[in-house]
Symmetry: C2
Subunit: 373 residues, 2 copies
Amino acid sequence: MSFQSFNPPRRILMGPGPSDISPQVLSSLSRPIVGHLDPLFIGMMDEVKALLQYAFQTKNEFTIALSAPGSAGMEACFVNLVEPGDKVIVCRNGVFGDRMVQNVIRVDAEPIIVDTTWGRAVEIDKVEQALIDNPDAKFVAFVHAETATGAVSDAKTLCALAHKHDCLSIVDAVTSLGGIELRVDEWGIDAIYSGSQKCLSCVPGLSPLSFSEKAVSVIKNRKTLVQSWFLDQSLVMSYWSGEGKRSYHHTAPVNSLYALHESLLHLHNEGLENSWDRHKAQHEDLARGLEKLGIKFIVPKEERLPQLNAIYIPDGVDDVKVRNYLLNHYNLEIGAGLGDFAGKAWRIGLMGYAARSENVALCLTALEDALNQ
Amino acid sequence: MSFQSFNPPRRILMGPGPSDISPQVLSSLSRPIVGHLDPLFIGMMDEVKALLQYAFQTKNEFTIALSAPGSAGMEACFVNLVEPGDKVIVCRNGVFGDRMVQNVIRVDAEPIIVDTTWGRAVEIDKVEQALIDNPDAKFVAFVHAETATGAVSDAKTLCALAHKHDCLSIVDAVTSLGGIELRVDEWGIDAIYSGSQKCLSCVPGLSPLSFSEKAVSVIKNRKTLVQSWFLDQSLVMSYWSGEGKRSYHHTAPVNSLYALHESLLHLHNEGLENSWDRHKAQHEDLARGLEKLGIKFIVPKEERLPQLNAIYIPDGVDDVKVRNYLLNHYNLEIGAGLGDFAGKAWRIGLMGYAARSENVALCLTALEDALNQ
């Protein structure tokens, strides 16, 4: 076999992630590598922590970037907090709620599943009923922004409900962080994870993670060993704590963390609320254009995510043909449907650096062209 | 707080990893990001697989780059292959053998520990005795190249021994892959993992992984669910198989995989045996220079790794002062001792792109200067 360097074209990424990356973040990856215990790197990691605290709107001391993708971030929450036999109320309104259920099963805990129709926000009443029916439940887990369906759930109310019933909240913010309002401390979120490749517009492979004091205390008082060595956060707390010597756990993904630092810096410079507003404004432009094309949204207006627009594929239109045309003719990627929506929906992402007027304009023009082919 | 872009200096990395990275590999990171299900990316992933098969010297169909560091690669081997109650013979002659023991415990299996003095190769006789004493053992696990001590173990003989006693072999090749002779198929290795940031001279964060047909069959015939969702390889086999549609499991770390592709391409172009020879030649130059400085190796000559030179800190010399001097005065990083060797040893890495004459020359001159300060 013969091999050559891989030189991809410039794609415009408007799928469910990875999202577009700014030239500045992209070039930060190629900065010279330093050791993962180098004082300069440790200084940068302290800044990553502070910038993540800003992005999450939290003062949580335990706020880190896990050295693996968001699905490992999800698993880190469950394996560290939940012990065998624990009851966990899991809200399921898409692929990622179902993945939470799989995680609960794999720690030998008991999932109490609250199902909501795909494409809708988690139903608060049903969650409250599940809490009443299961007074021994210890956790309420839900997805803030369902990437599979484009629906946002009321994280603030769900967390208040969890606390009212003495439960800790576990929140998937993979697609929400940076794109819509999210206030970890104010809303009382106990454990939250995200992904680097969505509204932060960084490379995929890192999972921002934050635990409240209450969550840390649950971890410290576990009766059983965390089943994963790699994800056992009690082993990495000392690395991130900033107190005294950083001890070796694993080799941090140095260059990816340069990119996370740079992308968080951009978010900080823009301002979190400005970023939320920008996502909303671009979404409104996109939605107007899609409506003109006669395209229907899956999610009712008031439950829609601005950064993830799930739309029905018009009748008689060939899913794969359109997406291939967009990719091959315009270098434009939009997302296929996932799970129940495979073959029935497209997902147009307006995440982070992708949420710009030039992207919205291109997407609408290209889609119109593709539908007329 | 105020934040700025992180602009590190050019360090020369001669510690235990991450190792030096060539300008070509470093710049490959900044190539435009494409979607993780983009046909172009999938084509590149097929090449990564073929290049990893070459590096491992295997035809194993299941040969992948795990989207997480080497310690997750280790865990992937144990959680996928080992079931609760299984007996695993674990050879422990350093930090990473001990980490294997922790992994065995966390899958509720039974480790049979064969201890060898740190700084020495795993003792074959002791392993054979353990196999005789435990005829129901199912696995033999050992570290090929102990990064904590700089000792190489006889992987070929250990694998033959494992097979003779109907055990599967699990091999840590984090520091060996690309640096010393390693032949997965010829030696009969059943499960092997490595790291991207050692002799492959890629960025940290990926773990090359390969399972033999026998190992895959063990996974397919498990009685219990793999306890980790993220590391459950039965869920990702379809992604890497190249047969039909790639299904979504998690978002691959796209840009890090560009760098892995590029670094494997370099290894392929140099030739695997040429790379092994280069590591050996550079090691011999370094060893001659260190001997002239009166510095002693921890590991006896015939058990030494060329790519990881563990040496005793000379009497009366301040460990931290010397390493700080090297870093601050020469931008040169060498490694501290780990585990039992903390404060007693240094580890000089000659891994991948670091195994060059200019690095050896700098290291010897700088170390002599530092010792005379």
